[in-house]
Amino acid sequence: MVDLAMHMMDIVQNSIRAEAKNIEIEFLENNDDFTLSFSVKDDGSGMSELTVKKLSDPFFTSRTTRKVGLGIPFLKMTSEQTGGSVEIKSGLGSGTEIIANYRTNHPDCIPLGDLGGYLTLLFSANPEINISFIYQLDNENFEISTQMLLEEGIDDLSNAEMMQAIKSFINENLKELFTKRNKTGFLC
């Protein structure tokens, strides 16, 4: 995985497979402390304690199409290489929350990548799931969700022109938010 947006797409796919109806994606960046916490929370089927333990084993997967499962091990790798960590909270029937912590002043911190592009694809391919996204930088934030778009009457989520517009909307707003960083770490 080259950037965090790829991780986001990857982890959210797990929630979709767990038949979640609500998925909350959160990026909490603390510019003063140089920390970034990226989390995905869903109300899907959840996992047993034993499954959670096996998650960081790359040769564990619930799929039948192949024998390896690298999504979580990669996430663990990119966070741990910055001195961060991954936490998983889950229970059968009570959904799952995955939190990956990054230190943004570490040179191995991977870039954020095209969050807008990936989010737009998620919105368009999963209209029946309420996906909410929030990026909080210190005290300011940018939020977008399926529900919010629908409430504003924006419902052609899989129309090509609308998708380009939504992507541009997200990326422009994030770009503006990022100008408010007062310290420069390695996150970009």
């Binding site: 080259v2 796919q13 199409t65 009457g153 899989s158 541009s168 909307f169």
Partner: protein, 130 residues
Amino acid sequence: MNKIKTLADLKRMQENVKSKVSLRDKASRAEDLVQVKVAMATCGIASGAKEVMEFFVVELDKRGIEAVVTQTGCMGYCFAEPTVEITLKDKDPVVFGYVDTKKADEIIEKYIKDGEFVDGIIPRNYETIK
């Protein structure tokens, strides 16, 4: 395209799109449309499935082909990612491997438009010949 920054811009865009869409005929029964499924698991994402999916969305619309572009999980062909499954009307699904934007263009022009097979098909649905 103008930069879209505020929610108002986005709403205006939606109204625009709505008026355009209502002019077009809606033959929109899902099974009548071309269905494009892009594999979006760890393997697909890491090899650039997003660019391929965006390409299909934009280009199919530009070339006036009504299609549903959506995501699927890993189909087990991680070595050949990005993979794309295409279902034309009344035909069996066909899986293409090693799809980059150049290949995607070829698939649209030859397979989707004319039904002509192109290189890179992964034999997935074997049927016994009786």
